[in-house]
């Protein structure tokens, strides 16, 4: 019986010839990750285990990104715990403010994750790295603590769901729209405990940035991991970037899938997820010109260079609507600098947007754009739960960066075609 790519990676990490869905394995991890919210608790648990040092100081990565630059005194204390632990353990990859980025934009960019890796991170969007053909999943702080000590983690091998996307992507439709429609189709627990494997001719042509967006939101369907089988686009991305050796895995032709979903992307239009679940998806033409107070372009979902280029393409020479605050947050310092050199930042500022240092900030209602009661925000982020970006009576809508930019101009939710 053949194996899927997810099963092959886990088998190799567990030192086994083969694994089957449902099997419990003890897998070696190639990298573990924590941030300023989850690492302090993990450090506290790690210290209870009684080992002096982490399993490998090159493979434990800490990225303060959620509430930094420190938003208040308590956040400063949390960040300090992380910083001091990183120093004490002499971690190679601790990323300080000014040299950091949103973790899931930063790690691939830095070549710290690669094809074939097993990665666990104390952040649910750790599934992002599946875009590179890695097995990557989110865990809590105690699991992170154990993985930091052992370099291993117990995992149940997930059954795989295969998603096949065919046809040509229409203009202004990308990875965000594909994943939103998919979540809209299967629901927020439609892939619970499963692997989501993204394949097909439309994925073969999709950029790495688009693939990161798709794998990033696998958790919004409840998945354990999202994965894109690596190809030439993957190779081009990791070559010259990878800091470790990597391996391309491919599923067997007779691999077993719990279910196969097929989508034709040719007729799709940009998608919008309505409050308060990412599964409440409508085509933008059916969004009904919902009036908005704020637009956020950024996050681990859509804060990459391609996203900023798309937004700037729509905003160039135009002005943000008088009733809208547009907040643009480049995912990493490198993305920020590149956007500056390409003139994108100039476009944003001339349009009337604010441009922030990389941070998760408003995505989880931390800071840099928290909503008041009754306010509505269209965001390129990943969650539109009750109270996600602020007051429990505020609303978050999700879309791709081009729709977000167009809506910032219009003052209500519209597709790019309506403003260009």
């Amino acid at each position: 019986m053949g194996m899927t790519i997810t099963e092959k990676i886990l088998a190799a990490a567990a030192g086994k010839k083969a694994v089957r869905p449902g099997e419990l394995v003890n897998a070696k991890v190639d990298l573990v990750l924590g941030n300023d919210i989850t690492a302090p608790m993990a450090i506290q648990e790690f210290e209870k285990i009684g080992v002096a040092e982490v399993f490998d100081r090159d493979r434990v990565v800490l990225v303060p990104d959620h509430f930094v630059p420190n938003k208040d005194i308590k956040s400063a204390e949390q960040a300090k715990i992380v910083r001091e632990f990183a120093r004490r353990q002499k971690l190679t990859h601790y990323f300080e403010v000014g040299r950091m980025g949103i973790e899931h934009c930063l790690l691939p960019e830095e070549g710290l994750v690669g094809p074939g890796d097993v990665v666990v991170g104390a952040d649910s969007h750790t599934c992002t790295y599946g875009a590179l053909g890695a097995f990557s999943t989110g865990v809590g702080s105690t699991d992170l603590a154990a993985a930091m000590a052992l370099g291993e983690i117990w995992l149940k091998v997930p059954a795989s769901l295969k998603f096949v996307y065919s046809g040509e992507l229409p203009p202004w439709v990308g990875g965000k729209d594909l994943i939103l429609y998919t979540i809209g189709d299967i629901g927020v627990d439609g892939a619970a405990y499963r692997a989501m494997e993204f394949t097909g001719p439309a994925i073969a042509k999709l950029s790495m940035d688009g693939r990161f967006t798709m794998a990033n939101m696998a958790v919004e369907a409840g998945a354990k991991n999202g994965i894109v089988p690596p190809d030439e686009i993957t190779r081009e991305y990791v070559q010259g970037r990878a800091k470790r050796s990597y391996q391309f895995y491919a599923g067997d032709p007779d691999a077993e899938y719990a279910k196969v979903y097929e989508y034709d992307v040719s007729e799709m239009e940009p998608a919008v997820a309505f409050p308060h679940l990412p599964e409440n998806v409508r085509p933008v033409s059916a969004a009904g010109h919902v009036k908005i107070d704020q637009v956020v372009i950024g996050s681990c979902t859509n804060g990459r260079l391609e996203d900023l280029r798309l937004a700037a393409g729509v905003l160039a020479g135009k002005k943000v609507h008088p009733d809208v605050r547009l907040i643009v947050i480049p995912g990493t310092q490198k993305i920020y600098l590149q956007a500056l050199q390409e003139g994108l930042i100039k476009i944003f500022i001339e349009a009337g947007a604010v441009v922030s240092t990389p941070t998760c900030g408003p995505c989880l209602g931390g800071y840099m754009g928290v909503l008041a009661a009754g306010e509505r925000c269209l965001a390129t982020t990943n969650r539109n739960f009750v109270g996600r970006m602020g007051h429990r009576e505020s609303e978050v809508y999700l879309s791709n960066p081009a729709v977000a930019a167009a809506s910032a101009i219009a003052g209500c939710i519209v597709g790019p075609k309506e403003v260009l």
């Binding site: 302090p40 809590g140 052992l150 927020v188 627990d189 409840g222 928290v370 009750v386 429990r392």
Partner: protein, 170 residues
């Protein structure tokens, strides 16, 4: 172990932002987190929850973020256990890792109403609704999770296995 308490009923897809909003994640202090537990789902909850009370919810409980603050806030609020139709996977792991008893019991999740008095036999996975004179069975806890519970949580489990796994550090 027998747990007894009053039910607080919630709906489907109770995510970790509802369990503990991210705006309070600038601390890991359990009692501080408890003060905001379930606040965005029911603002009355943190003030009115009594020690031993039981959270009952529908499908996909604990979806969203990986924050372990969520089960910690529930535990620190004095909630004795959670009964739900199903759980999101990270929350499920986290609850076991920190020692919050949780039960997957779709029938119980459907039948129980807010205010019902419940008795839970943790070892047998039997939930008795004293108010409605009904009994429900929880899905058995997988043997491996059972091992973690018997060890006293993941950290103690790891401690026991430490020598076996520990590597030399460069």
């Amino acid at each position: 172990m027998i747990l007894q308490g009053k039910a607080w009923k919630f709906g489907d897809d109770i995510n970790t932002d509802l369990i503990i909003p991210a705006r309070y994640l600038n601390t890991s202090d359990p009692s501080e987190l408890a003060g905001h537990c379930m606040e965005d789902a029911d603002p009355e909850f943190p003030r009115k929850v009594q020690p031993g009370d039981i959270i009952v919810a529908g499908k996909n409980f604990g979806s969203g973020s990986s924050r372990e603050h969520a089960p910690l806030a529930i535990k620190a609020a004095g909630v004795s256990c959670v009964i739900a139709g199903s759980y999101a996977r990270i929350f499920y792991r986290n609850a076991f890792n920190i020692g919050l008893p949780i039960f997957e019991a779709p029938e119980a999740a459907e039948r129980i109403q807010s205010g019902d008095l419940l008795r839970v036999d943790v070892d047998k996975g039997i939930i008795t609704n004293l108010s409605r004179r009904e009994e429900y069975r929880a899905t058995p806890i997988p043997p491996f999770m059972q091992e973690i519970i018997s060890a006293g949580g993941l950290i103690d489990y790891v401690k026991k296995q430490k020598k076996q796994y520990q590597r030399t550090v460069p």
